[in-house]
Symmetry: C2
Amino acid sequence: MLKVLKFGGTSVGTLERIQNVANIIKDIRDEGHDVIAVVSAMSGETNKLIEYAESFSKTPVPNEIDMLLSSGERVTSALLSIALNEQGYKTTSMSGREAGIVTDNAHTRARIESIDTNNMKNAIADGKIIVVAGFQGVTEDTQRVSTLGRGGSDLTAVAIAGAIHADVCEIYTDVDGIYTTDPRIEPKAKKLDKISYDEMLELASLGAKVLQNRSVEMAKKLNVNLVSRSSFTPEVEGTLITKEENIMEKPVVSGIALDKNQVRVGMYGVTDRPGMAAGIFTSLANANINVDMIVQTVAVDGKTSLDFTIPTTDWEICKTVMNTFKDDIEKVDYNEKICKVSIVGVGMKSHTGVASKAFSALASENINIRIISTSEIKVSMIIEEKYAELAVRALHEAYNLDK
Amino acid sequence: MLKVLKFGGTSVGTLERIQNVANIIKDIRDEGHDVIAVVSAMSGETNKLIEYAESFSKTPVPNEIDMLLSSGERVTSALLSIALNEQGYKTTSMSGREAGIVTDNAHTRARIESIDTNNMKNAIADGKIIVVAGFQGVTEDTQRVSTLGRGGSDLTAVAIAGAIHADVCEIYTDVDGIYTTDPRIEPKAKKLDKISYDEMLELASLGAKVLQNRSVEMAKKLNVNLVSRSSFTPEVEGTLITKEENIMEKPVVSGIALDKNQVRVGMYGVTDRPGMAAGIFTSLANANINVDMIVQTVAVDGKTSLDFTIPTTDWEICKTVMNTFKDDIEKVDYNEKICKVSIVGVGMKSHTGVASKAFSALASENINIRIISTSEIKVSMIIEEKYAELAVRALHEAYNLDK
């Protein structure tokens, strides 16, 4: 098999941990697999370099930031290559440029445009383990080093796996897979063997932090089998994120997600005329505010009410936008003491009564549901924040996720 | 004027010092000059990375060492570019690759083979200050990053200055120029305004540590006007190292050098047959031992004596080589309590009696000379180490260098 393995900043955070990663790769290589490892900078390095840059400028030039930050991954890739070479393996580090990764010109948040896999294919044909400096590429027209922004090393790994038709892309972090819910909240949470891309996307956007949506989306698009596993317990199998067709037994509910970083915005006495709501939400979208759940109540006396939720980080900007509508809205209030619990599962598509079981479970704990929104594979509910953990445990039990 | 400026590890050792370097460049730019700055890694960074590598392997793969170490200069070049940009200047960092520097394949000690100056010329035409990551290039055939070894950033600066026909190449260190002798030994030492390449080469090889011979040799070959000056006192003019023809008034003696890292090797009762001495010195050369001064005494009874000096660092290897000749040498002894004082000056070529003045000066201080060697522009003398400083001061005064 050809395996792409990605090791994040925590997994390569110290020299001892880099040695540990070398041992993981060694074991996989000894099983007869070809290996392309993608590495992040040692944890702390990137932040240190950003601090350096910001000591000179509040708005450092993006292409220089990329020159600066890309050095961190280069260091890790060289060190890991040296460690593997010392154990008798043929290895080569590769910068993003050497790995053939071409991006657009959006420095510090570049998008991968293409990957020329020739260099990597030749190295593999030579029997080499490749260690790619993640998070970076080179711009097509200026040929300058570029970086991919948050989660860039995961993206590098997935994009390479897709381009070179790897059998699997394993993302190593400090967590050994995807759980039915956060084990710190529900100790009975179980690690999932498999989960579909769509479920993973919902879980990630709902607060599960193991994998970022950008990489899961790319894995889905490129049809890459993704595995989430831990470099600290490499003997544990991890969770396979794959396409729905590959999952034989589709659970009705795969997981419970909790997101406490939500604010409910209530708008009362909104002028009820055509285009009013559209105008408000267009303004919010233009301000890059991620509006999530929306409820509109029926108009009374030419006035209506609108409720929606936003991430806590968008709160301040939201207030500014709301202000521009003060002639058309009688009152706006905000409630940050809420949270969103969600149930996610591809089986919902073909089962009825899934949502009502959730409502009953919460009702039996006397938890009031303030807003509900559903998609094909998800039901999200806004409740009071103080009930967050209780709700997660109640739902976990209701869907027998500990079995 | 087009100026190439090189700033070493100490000059960019902290964020404050990088800001200081930005200010120096700013002042030069404001005078209307085009600037290419070449920078080293922040002091300590390279050693830290080497330690990291050696924690994995006693003999880390050279091309990975280059991938690793080259990151240090990239960081400095990006930071300096950010600092200059913040002050309103158009800037761009450049890796060795971007600066067009192509080397041979001798990773960790590569030689520059060619420089394609197009990228730099375009940037200058765009009105940009260029900040080149020193010490590195890219190999011609594998296109991998390579490093130039000790003094590599100086070499980068000189080679660029030669290739792009810069008017001057200024090497900034923590010393403000070349002195008639080490001011810590002779406080009356004077900074030289000008010195020829050959004198500089002799002084450097005799222990003056400001500039390395590799860069001075390249400057001589490419006819680059080199200036040694300090980034800590940029208002001080520094010393111009240039070709002899550019120096109108040629002093008989320009400087006094002292080298304490010498061992005298005495071989007694050496079989006096043809090729004997040649065999010994060929073996020493094959072991990369830098044999300096050699004296052979006349043969008596088919036996001869040979005295020579080597750098202290070569002492152990020298012993091994000597052992292989034990059948032909009766006795070998070593004396490390010696030193070499030298007088250097292009004026010696056309003056007589220069050396005898040195011998008299030492004799009047009762200092015995053990070995003497001379070249066109240099007289070196081996004396007992305890007289080192006294000898330097005596010679400094004898040639009126404090005037």
